[in-house]
């Protein structure tokens, strides 16, 4: 994965997306929902970064803030060298073709009153000056690319199955030859059999067009399949970012460990020996995150320091970033194996 010299395509630095909470007669701001809180990462050209985390941890908000579908509170996002957050609306509009998005709910993301041809053609209308015939040819080419029958061009979104709708959404995202696509849980609303088709389609398109993905999902197995590197989010922050194989083989952050222990094992023999870390309690409100480490209220390995100071998001091994006090001392010290043995004691076997 790290064989060639990689050029960063997307650089996110200190991204914060706070939604104000207002109350009272005068709509005074009484607080913030910290949906995305100080997130930084880099996506290299041609790779897929998987972004995982439980519901409500800010994955989708993060993806949308990166494309500036929301106005972020703070931070910088450089896509292909240009800062998206600071860009003027004209610059932003010119940059739109480079970055596109595939949405979670294929039903909701297609205008019910537009035909497939009109939906796929909308980006072409906005950013190109093709003649009617050229546009139609391009629409047909896109439909071929995503495996849609050309005869469907006149139909409306409600006439399609979920998988086909998602293909329409992908075709729309591809229309302007983007470099970077944010896939916001593109498979979450689909059947398992269709999920595979759509994921394979995304992979094929990546190979043939050299696309870069930010793949947002809560399906850990699917992320393992498609992603090159994986970022784990908890309560608006990235707690761990590492190459895929490393993170699945040896998760460092206690939250990642708990998350991965929840993945069912297809092999019944291995399933028997699978040890599940069951987290207690609920995710704290993002409007009022705990002091210190965000995960300290549920962490099986929480220490005194975790309740006091916020851990730094640091590279502790080459390519592996973790935000946890367990690894604060120095990278490569014996802290990690020690922590592992400690965690086996605390795990609870599934079915107990």
């Amino acid at each position: 994965m790290f064989d060639a010299v990689q050029k960063p395509l997307v650089e996110v630095a200190g991204l914060k997306m706070y939604f104000p909470i207002t109350a009272g007669v005068f709509r005074r701001q009484v607080g913030n929902v910290k949906a995305v809180d100080n997130v930084s990462f880099t996506i290299f050209e041609g790779e897929t970064l998987g972004l995982v985390g439980e519901s409500g941890c800010g994955k989708s908000t993060c993806g949308r803030a990166i494309l500036r579908l929301y106005e972020p509170t703070a931070g910088a996002v450089r896509i292909d060298g240009t800062d998206v957050i600071a860009a003027s609306s004209d610059t932003l509009r010119q940059m739109r073709p480079k970055m596109q998005m595939v949405f979670q709910d294929p039903q909701a993301s297609l205008n019910p009153r537009m035909t497939v041809a009109a939906i796929i053609g909308e980006p072409l209308d906005e950013h190109t000056k093709l003649s009617k015939a050229e546009k139609l040819a391009k629409i047909y080419a896109l439909m071929d690319q995503v495996g849609l029958n050309r005869d469907f061009a006149n139909r409306y979104p409600h006439e399609f199955s979920g998988g086909q709708r998602q293909r329409i959404g992908i075709a729309r995202a591809l229309a302007l030859n983007p470099k970077f696509i944010v896939c916001d849980e593109p498979i979450a609303a689909l059947d398992v059999s269709i999920q595979a088709q759509v994921v394979n389609l995304l992979e094929e398109l990546q190979d043939s067009l050299g696309l870069t993905y930010l793949f947002i999902s809560h399906d850990l197995s699917m992320v393992r399949h498609i992603a090159d590197r994986v970022a784990v989010m908890y309560l608006g922050q990235i707690v761990e970012l590492a190459p895929r194989d490393a993170i699945y083989a040896e998760p460092l952050h206690p939250y990642t460990q708990a998350l991965l222990s929840a993945v069912p094992e297809p092999d019944p023999e291995a399933e028997k020996s699978r040890r599940r870390i069951v987290l207690t309690g609920d995710v704290p409100s993002p409007a009022n995150p705990p002091k210190g480490c965000n995960f300290c209220t549920r962490c099986p390995k929480a220490m005194a320091i975790c309740h006091e100071t916020e851990p730094q998001f640091r590279e502790i091994l080459p390519g592996r970033f973790v935000s946890c006090h367990l690894y604060e001392q120095t990278a490569g010290e014996a802290a990690a194996p020690g922590a592992r043995s400690e965690h086996t004691e605390k795990t609870i076997q599934q079915g107990e």
Binding site: Q100, Y156, R172
Partner: protein
């Protein structure tokens, strides 16, 4: 999927949406009946006066309060004026007032509703303006408008056209609030839908976002309030005529015919029933047309 007519089907270009709309409209029986009745009424009030060329204002005192006869198919009124001619002339005024006032109020209401729903900054001022209009006592306001502007408008546009403009404007300007509120509510919900977000990610500017994504999806409530608007415009016009603030007394409209006949309703019920039925038929047929159009414009219902 390609087993049936593979060659021809593939090269069929996207056809205009309006053909699909017409196909669906044709399947709505009520809408077709409504459309034919409405066309009949329109023909009667446009071509009718040429076929039955008796002047609606010709007073024949010897033929007062006559019943149906060959000379006066629908009888005469208390001044001996021909009711058929008056009905045709009155329909022309009532329907044109109804349609134009409705269009004005729908345009005003839709514009204000969309702007208030889509642009957050405009929401406060525009909705307060709507509340202000809703809180105004409408009848005194209409009376004030008519008394203030009747003379100058009559002078500059001629008495008939001046009053027509005044009444259309007065009705339009005082009936857009419901539409604005309904549209704003719909737009607020629509704005959060993912396809609007998808259009934002494409870089669609606000103007085209409204025209392409918002307006087509708020069409149904607009349609409904438009069809209801025609009815209330015709009725408001009759109320104004009744108060003596609409068109001049000898100038027939359906509303005025109705009110003129009310005094002698027990003796000559037909003179009340005829304009009443005409108003109801128009309103009903327009409602059905609106209903059919609304269904036909929704691709999810189309083809069912």
């Amino acid at each position: 999927m390609t087993d049936t007519t593979p060659a021809t089907a593939k090269i069929r270009p996207p056809r205009s949406q309006w053909w699909d709309v017409w196909d669906q409209f044709k399947t709505h029986k009520g809408a077709l009946v409504g459309l034919s009745i409405f066309v009949l009424i329109l023909l009667a009030i446009t071509i009718g006066p040429f076929l039955w060329d008796m002047a609606p204002t010709y007073v024949d005192l010897r033929a007062r309060n006559k019943g149906f006869s060959a000379a006066h198919p629908l009888g005469t009124d208390q001044l001996g004026r021909d009711v058929l001619a008056r009905m045709m002339a009155g329909g022309k005024v009532s329907i044109s007032v109804g349609l134009t006032a409705m269009m004005l109020s729908i345009m005003l209401g839709t514009t204000i509703g969309v702007l208030a729903g889509y642009f957050r900054r405009l929401e406060g001022p525009l909705m307060r303006l709507t509340d202000l209009f809703l809180a105004l006592p409408l009848l005194p306001l209409l009376l004030l408008m008519v008394t203030l502007f009747r003379e100058p408008l009559s002078k500059s546009f001629g008495p008939e056209r001046g009053i027509f403009l005044l009444i259309v404007f007065a009705i339009g300007a005082t009936s857009w609030m419901q539409t604005a509120r309904i549209v704003r509510g719909e737009v607020l919900g629509l704005k959060e839908r993912e396809f609007v977000l998808a259009a934002r990610s494409i870089g669609t500017p606000a103007r085209r976002m409204i025209l392409r994504h918002v307006l087509p999806n708020v069409l149904s409530p607009i349609m409904v309030s438009a069809t209801l608007g025609i009815a209330s415009a015709i009725i408001t016009e009759s109320a104004l005529s009744f108060l003596g603030l609409g068109f001049p007394p000898d100038f027939p409209t359906w509303g005025r015919l109705l009110y003129d006949a009310v005094d002698q309703m027990q003796l000559y019920p037909w003179r009340v029933i005829l304009p009443g039925v005409a108003i109801s038929l128009t309103v009903l047929s327009v409602n059905y047309i609106g209903d059919g159009l609304r269904d036909a414009l929704d691709p999810r219902i189309r083809g069912r």
